[in-house]
Structures are given as C-alpha cells and as structure tokens.
C-alpha cells in the first residue's frame, strides 16, 4: 500500500480545504458554486454511465443492478441494527441508515481518480450501480421510519402522510436521482457524434471540476468537526465502523458475485463504504423530519467522507488487490 498513490489532485485538494478550515483560514467558497459543481458532477457521472451502458453486456449489467439493489437495501438494515444497539432512537437510526445505503459521489470519483493515477483498469458497471443505489436507500430509510413510527406510535401524522405512493414518488423524483438517470438516458439515447459536442464540457473538464468540488467538501468536512460533541462518541465511532462493514460487503460482492478485477472490486467496495451527503439529506429532511439533520450530516460529511478519502480508499484497494490476486 504505497501512500504516494494518495498524491492525486482530488485527494490533495480535499486535504487543502480541510486544512484551510482547520487553521481557521478566511478562505470562503460561494455556496452556489458548491451546488453548481454537484449538479455538474452528477450529470457527468450519469452521462458516463449511459455511454457505458450502451456498450454493456446485458447479463452482466443485470447482475450489477441486482448487486446494487442488495447493497442499497441491505446496508441500511445492518446500519439500523447497529444504531439501535447503540441506543440511538429509531427515527434518527432510520435516517442515518438511509445515508449508508446510498453513495458519496465525491468519494466514488476520488476512487476513480486514484485508479486512473495508477493506470489500473476498472469495470464500468459500478457507475451504473451508483445511480441505482440512491433510490433503494431512500426507500428503505422511509420504510424503517414508518416501521419505527408504528411501533412507537410516535407521530400518527407523519406515518399517515408517508403512504407508500408518496414514498416511492419521493425516492424517484429526488433531484440527484433525476440528474443521474436523466443524464444516463441522454448518454444512452444520443448518438456518439452528437455526444461529442458536450464531451469537452462534461467529460474533459470532469477531474478538474471534481478537484474544485473536493476543495470545498474538505472545508465542509472540517467544519463538521465542531459538531462531534453534539453527535456523541458512539456515532463518531459508527461513522468509521460502518464504512468498514460496507466496504467489506462491497469487496465480497464485487469479487465473489460480480467477478470484477482489482479496480472494479475497489469501486464496489467504495459504493458499499461511502455515505451520501448530496441526495439523501434533503430526502430525509422531508421524509423523517423528526430525525436531527445534525446527526446524519455530521456522520456522512464529517466522519465517513474524510475517513474514506484518506484511509478507506487505499485500504479497500489493498484488500481488493489481495482478493483478486492482482
């Protein structure tokens, strides 16, 4: 595990943002720029996914989608059980759990940059899996909340409002889901010569824009450290434990089920290990208002995200290489 592999722009800019905030620099990022970059990155991933899907083998793609569903539905349940064991109340547990079934696009893209820097090949199915995993994670979060409310008889009104129809609707009209899927359809439907006209924008610039986004996300992650006290020791530990569990699940699924190589297995591990901070928090705001956003944002943005970028990716890579014998 050669640490010099971490010397890639994405990771270094993340570290720079983290450091700037940690030393209380007056560096400021306009809020709209972060939002613009996240829209851009989601479209970029979606387009890439769509282009890959066009060339994909149907059988393999189906397997990948099935695996994505299993991870997206299964990991939140694991997370929920652990959180309850740690005496987190059920609604907060539901909301947090949903984040771990989904994926952090920033972490995933850092892993791709990391592989590219070492010229390691990777399967492209994980790109499609990323898009797939958002919705199940949101749905399972809502189901857990519903179940929690039922058993707690805590808030009849929320339970009523969230009937199954609404619930599915919200999961599929989520802004990030629509960008990912919409762009995927564009990537699939448009003929290559026409796609070429937008490739300089959405493709060629992608890694640079990612660096700028990670600079800002480094600052955001660092700001969240001040919230650790509020969140408590158990949750901070959970924010490191859960990516290890999700990463292990991803490694196993990527290798034994999907039969990917070193690169692909790493990417599936990152799908499992990472927690959403773009798509899922707004969904939970609406669907589980009783949960405290401070908990799930601090965990996904302030704990799991930096852990994965700095420690997780090289660790999962080391394990993926061992597993696949690369």
């Amino acid at each position: 595990m050669d640490l010099s592999n971490l010397l890639i722009p994405a990771v270094l800019f993340f570290a720079l943002g983290f450091l700037a905030q940690a030393v209380k620099s007056d560096l400021k990022f306009p809020p709209d720029l972060a939002k613009a970059l996240s829209i851009y990155l989601l479209i970029g991933i979606g387009l890439k996914g769509g282009i890959e899907l066009a060339h994909a083998d149907l059988g393999e793609a189906t397997q990948a989608v099935a695996a994505a569903l299993v991870l997206g539905l299964g990991l939140p349940i694991v997370a929920y059980v652990i959180l309850l064991a740690g005496r987190i109340d059920k609604l907060n547990a539901s909301a947090i759990a949903a984040h771990y079934g989904s994926v952090s696009a920033g972490t995933f893209l850092t892993a791709i940059a990391y592989l590219s820097a070492q010229q390691i090949e990777y399967e492209t199915y994980p790109l499609i899996m990323l898009a797939i995993m958002e919705s199940p994670a949101i749905i399972i979060g809502l189901l857990l909340a519903r179940f929690s409310r039922g058993s707690q008889a805590h808030d009849a009104e929320n339970a009523r409002e969230n009937h199954m129809g609404e619930l599915l609707r919200d999961a599929f009209t989520n802004g990030s889901v629509m960008l990912l899927f919409g762009a995927m359809v564009v990537g699939l439907a448009v003929k290559p010569s026409s796609l070429d006209t937008i490739t300089p924008f959405f493709g060629t610039l992608f890694m640079g824009a990612l660096s700028l986004f990670l600079l800002e996300m480094g600052m955001e992650a660092s700001k969240r450290i001040g919230e650790f006290k509020r969140v408590g020791g158990f949750l901070v530990v959970f924010g490191i434990l859960m990516p290890l569990i999700g990463g292990a699940a991803g490694l196993l699924v990527g290798h034994y089920w999907l039969g990917f190589g070193e690169g692909g297995v790493l990417l599936v591990a990152v799908l499992g290990a990472s927690a959403s901070y773009i798509a899922v928090p707004p969904a939970m705001r609406l669907a589980i208002p009783e949960a405290n956003p401070s908990y799930y944002l601090t965990l996904s943005l302030g704990v799991t995200f930096p852990f994965n970028v700095i420690v997780g990716i090289p660790l999962y890579h080391y394990l993926a290489a061992r597993l696949t014998g690369a």
Binding site: F29, P31, A34, K35, S38, L91, D155, E157, N158, E161, G175, E216, M217, E220, K223, R224, G226, E227, R230, Y277, I278, V280, P281, P282, M284, R285, L286, I288, P289, E290, A291, N292, P293, S294, Y295, L297, T298
Partner: protein, 102 residues
Amino acid sequence: MPPLYPMKLINIVANITLEERLVDIAEAHEASGYTVLDARGAGSAGLQTGALDGESNILFLLLVPESKLDQVLADVEKLMKRGHHLATFVSDTQVLRREKFD
C-alpha cells in the same frame, strides 16, 4: 405623505427543502405573494453552511393582514409538530397600499 397600514410580517427560517411546503401554505391562505431569501446559519438542527441542499436555509417572508395570522401560524405549527426545524417569528409592520396584501 402616502398612508401606511398595519400588517403582520411572518418570518420563517427553514431548510430549503421546505420551500414548496411554505409556498403551499401561503397559497392556501391566499396571501398576495411571498418572498424567499437564501440563508445559512446554525441552530438545534446543527450547522447550515449553504453548500449542499441538505444544509441550506431560506428566510421565508410573508406579509398578511392580522386576520389571517392565526390560520397561517397554525399551519406552520403543524410542520413544527411533524418535527421540522423552523425558527418562526412575527413582527408588526406597516405597508404602502393595503389593497395589495389583503
């Protein structure tokens, strides 16, 4: 001097995902309009830096005649009962052209 008429200004600080719900409340009570400003901040729901939708606030402003105040606040209170994190405060103000806001 142009005359001024008393009116209530309802101020709500909320996460941006609640914007549509607040607009619905304004429309349900036939307010003449509403105003929204992007904001950041902190409160019991933690730090809201404005960088991502999940951590972005808005300041929602609603001018209503006193007669509508209670009904609007009752709806806002419903959102708070469901668990949403809102900071709601009401001020006395005076408007030019009452007929615009009735």
